[in-house]
Amino acid sequence: MLELRGVRHRYDGRLVLDLDQFIVPRGALLAVVGHNGAGKSTLLRLLALLETPTEGQVLFSGALVPKRARAALRRRVTLVEQRPILFRGTVRQNLEYGLELRGTARTAMNGIIGDLVERLGLASLLNRRRHELSDGEVQRVAVGRALALRPDVLLLDEPLSSADRAAATALYQTLAAERAARPFAICVASHQLEEAYRWADSIRALAEGRLSPVTPENLFRVALPAGEGVKHAHIGGGAIDVAVMTDRVGPAVLAVAPSDIFVSLQPLTTSARNVFSGRITGMSIERRGAGVHVRADMGGVELVAAVTAEAARDLALAPGKTVFFSFKATAVQVF
């Protein structure tokens, strides 16, 4: 549906996005995860055709997007920003904005908006203005304003940053209901991996503007000390030290694939240079494959390990239990 090919995007000469290929397939439920500043918002703005990549191509339905066609294609892709903003006027006028542009008849418009208002619980807000709304309400109105347009691709930038848990659940239920009625693609940028895992069909990890080949758990921004071979990098503000094999020096992103972490109840005598102990804070069934993700607090830093359902049962893993996570220095990838 939407594709970026060979895209290098720069702001004032600084490379912020470097993607050989990024595809949002038709009807996909895609999550892009990564730290703040990883390039997620920039990626969404490129996909929304709001910015033109410094280098590279943007394709829509397999065809290059010519500059003149961007405005027309924008009507099929809609972005909801991380901190959305409403226009001057009432909530109703905001919801009608895009429909009016498309010349939607008044009766049809009332139907679409009436329907959305009910599903998003906006009825009491319709005549309010932006300064009379909370952040969460603005968010809901902004999502409604985008959904009213029935886009082929809906791009959501950190939709949960200003929402509480109940609001988040409501949002995803609304999106699910909308997709059940009419298939369309959703691409969400998030730094909350748990949420992404819970509902997305497919996850892409971004780190420093590049797609990261590992699952997005256990990504840490560090400053690597000088020297060669095995080094110790402080993560979580020095809470724990991770041994890593690299010649890189200076700022970098470390990644440890959850499947590379051994989980045990006793400290293991192995070649693994990294052994940490802590309590399990959460467990979740991984949708792709039968694995279980075990997250544990290792002295202030959360690490995630993937084990099979069988192993989780054998070790009687449960939240609150103390476990040991072990992984080799060579299992730590450096980006």
Partner: protein, 218 residues
């Protein structure tokens, strides 16, 4: 004299108003879109263009008058228009002076609008004109101030009006040039009366714009 409704004074006031309104409309019609363009588009030489416009803000009015005089004088490039010493010449001079104000201040006003407004309008499907309208609506107070400033420049301008208008009685004598003339002739009473009319005019325009702004809230 004011109360008696001296026809010459009214003629001067009307001409001043006509020149100011026409010049304000032209300079804003060109200057506001130019300001929007400078504020929102990224193109090569944009910074230089902004510098030029900002520098033009401080252009001395007599210099503009002088240059325009050269252009409009009979042997000048635009001499065939026959505009020298006509009210059209004063309008051209005023437009040249008010245009940088309209462009530079509206660029600043538009730059002050949250960047998300423009992106949001675009992502919801607005084309170039509708996006510009949406963004401008958010900056309407600042843009109204821009129009006021342009009008203020035009209505108070004396240097260029004197040089290219010629301060001809009954033809190109505006309030400001008349004030200058009567002051130099020692007729302080008349000069003061004309100055008062000028003030009232400026006050009226400001009040009118405020009333317009007052309609509708954020």
């Amino acid at each position: 004299m004011l109360v008696a409704g001296d026809s010459e004074v009214y003629g001067i006031a009307l001409l001043t108003l006509k020149v100011a309104v026409v010049a304000t409309i032209i300079s804003c019609a060109v200057g506001l879109p130019l300001g929007y363009f400078l504020a929102t588009r990224r193109f090569w030489g944009r910074r230089a263009a902004l510098t030029v416009v900002n520098t033009a803000l401080a252009f001395p009015t007599v210099v503009v008058g002088l240059l325009l005089y050269g252009l409009l004088s009979r042997r000048g490039p635009l001499g065939s228009l026959g505009w020298l010493y006509t009210w059209q010449a004063i309008v051209v001079g005023d437009v040249l002076l008010a245009l940088p104000i309209a462009a530079a201040l509206s660029a600043a006003a538009i730059q002050g609008v949250d960047a998300r407004i423009r992106r949001t309008a675009q992502t919801l499907g607005a084309g170039g004109l509708r996006t510009a309208w949406t963004v401008s609506r958010e900056a309407r107070f600042a843009l109204a101030a821009v129009i006021t400033a342009a009008f203020g420049q035009v209505v108070a301008e004396v240097g260029a009006a004197m040089i290219v208008g010629g301060n001809i009685r009954g033809s190109t004598r505006t309030l400001t040039t008349a004030v200058a003339l009567y002051t130099s002739q020692g007729d302080f009473g008349l000069a003061l009366a004309l100055g008062l009319i000028l003030l009232i005019m400026a006050l009226f325009v400001n009040v009118a714009l405020q009333v317009l702004q007052g309609r509708g809230h954020a």
